[in-house]
Symmetry: T
Subunit: 69 residues, 12 copies
């Protein structure tokens, strides 16, 4: 059995609802262009503010996926 290799793509998911949804949105976007998603790591949690309130949570993710071939 051969040794498996993975690659990592970097996305920023956003959501007005909260951090969990921002992560799910980022993963969903990554899944449109890459197959075999395997894990994620949170790199940074930020957000935009307006009128003294959180308008969007922004979560920077590393998303790992298995190489096919």
């Amino acid at each position: 059995m051969s040794d498996q290799t993975y690659a990592i793509t970097h996305v920023v998911g956003t959501s007005a609802d909260g951090i969990d949804t921002a992560i799910r949105n980022g993963v969903a976007a990554a899944s449109k262009s890459v197959r075999n998603l395997d894990w994620f790591e949170v790199d940074e949690i930020r957000g935009y503010l307006a009128d003294g309130q959180v308008k969007h949570f922004q979560v920077t993710l590393k998303v790992g996926f298995r190489y096919e071939g």
Copy 2:
């Protein structure tokens, strides 16, 4: 058009409910003393425990705002 400058204030928002609410509470407190809030970054997520359970989530934030003048 002049170049815009920003300043950053540091707050710790807390909540018994969860991280998203702790962030919103920290931003709300910052908005009472500073105008033109523009973005936030999460620096640290901590919390107090009692009776083997989470009593408060505490999120340390950098909150950026535009200088007026």
Copy 3:
């Protein structure tokens, strides 16, 4: 009055629901083997993906507790 000492244990709480629940699950597991839990810090937020979706959030925690004796 004597100076209090604390120790820190490291756990990874997981949840399909989100980060807050993963933290609560990690704290609950720590509370089964250690008494006098006092605080936690989030070290890392990761998760497993399958079918292009988040299956489990995994939050690595430092959990501090008071030494008895």
Copy 4:
């Protein structure tokens, strides 16, 4: 002679010209609200892009100043 104390304020200077000017702009803004500026440190260098080009350099600075009193 008494021991001197300093405080640190955090600003983001911006410029379309480059990093040096962004730093000078951030320091100039800080000097309007705080006296006795003594040193700065660069925390982060970022910028906004549009039309495939750098529109603004943004430099986050810690600016140290001497306490009077």
Copy 5:
């Protein structure tokens, strides 16, 4: 209105002139293969030396862009 997602690509811009030009060169190269560039962050500033002088400044950048689709 849907939540916007971003991706991040990593480039190293180089220049014999200085850091600002190295950043602009890196962004220009990224703009040839990716559309909708939105921001950059400097990760690392390095350079090659020869004859006791700087021959090239090398700036490692994270370049963020909006997902289309």
Copy 6:
């Protein structure tokens, strides 16, 4: 009962005597302009040298305090 919010100020305490006194001096200076000080964290320990000896220890502190209001 409402959720408590904290803010963080950044000071550099100095002392010819040592690190502990530099911290106490930094906290004392912060207490002149801010009430309800709650905790501190050491960010950096530095110092000035002259004649091959330590002239001043300088300790950069984050000082947390409770918001009133």
Copy 7:
């Protein structure tokens, strides 16, 4: 002569044999989809365990390559 630009891709090489082979496997996988590989950096060394033993070493790499065009 124009200034050279580089891009960085992120891969995870794995091997049951050890870290050096995991690195070589990650580089070999990257070389299948990208030409002109120029350097690598190790970001993280991890591994999976089973039966109290190392089953796979996993090395996360940044792999730099020259832009053609």
Copy 8:
């Protein structure tokens, strides 16, 4: 001769006197539950404040010890 293995435990020593005593108190507490202590590293220096003064220095330590067996 076999290769020696070490383990690391994490404690927080506290003291109203200063950092050195907080470290010694943390080591003393660790020595009650673990034998063959070999080294320590300081991870974090913090403290609690009350009435505008340092009440307790808190030093987070990694404490290394030799495995017996």
Copy 9:
């Protein structure tokens, strides 16, 4: 199906042979006191020198294991 929880223990494996063997030795030592080992991460690679040569490689590891119960 319940959410799985993990704990992390910290060990230093040593070897005169090299880094891979130091890791394997650290994992073997951890497996004597903890069951269900699942993954490791390398925190630090160091070593002792004598007579101008490497005598021991020392690798500090985080070792994760599943909680039973």
Copy 10:
């Protein structure tokens, strides 16, 4: 062909003009005491302020050079 070895020296270049010149000045100073300079990395960008303006940019550099012998 033998494996090449490098050493790293640490210098702080300063300039009233800007960061690029501060780097060039630091490299020039290093080249007076060390031959075969090969690369540099920026560790820290700081500066002194007076009269509310930047007086000197200070850039801390790692400078790598080839061992002869």
Copy 11:
């Protein structure tokens, strides 16, 4: 007036008494081989333990000095 350049040397001062004395000892040792010492920064605080007690505090320092020439 020419721009001043500095170099940085790295030493580990030790003391059975405490951190302040370990720093002073490290600076004193550096002053025997280098002139014009200007500042120090603490990089790491560690120590050796024996009989469940601190035997030596070890403080790793960056020591900056002005280039003559």
Copy 12:
């Protein structure tokens, strides 16, 4: 008995064979110019690639040695 002082030198060992040999080569080079080598720490693991393969592993080391005098 006096308190021992150490200094740290920074070298980059290289090898086509692997990381362990690169470390040994770096230490061997350091031992030609400095006596009483005591320990090393790995700072960075990198390497050069050509033809889609690893040509040289490069390991940046801190090498500690005892001051004589």
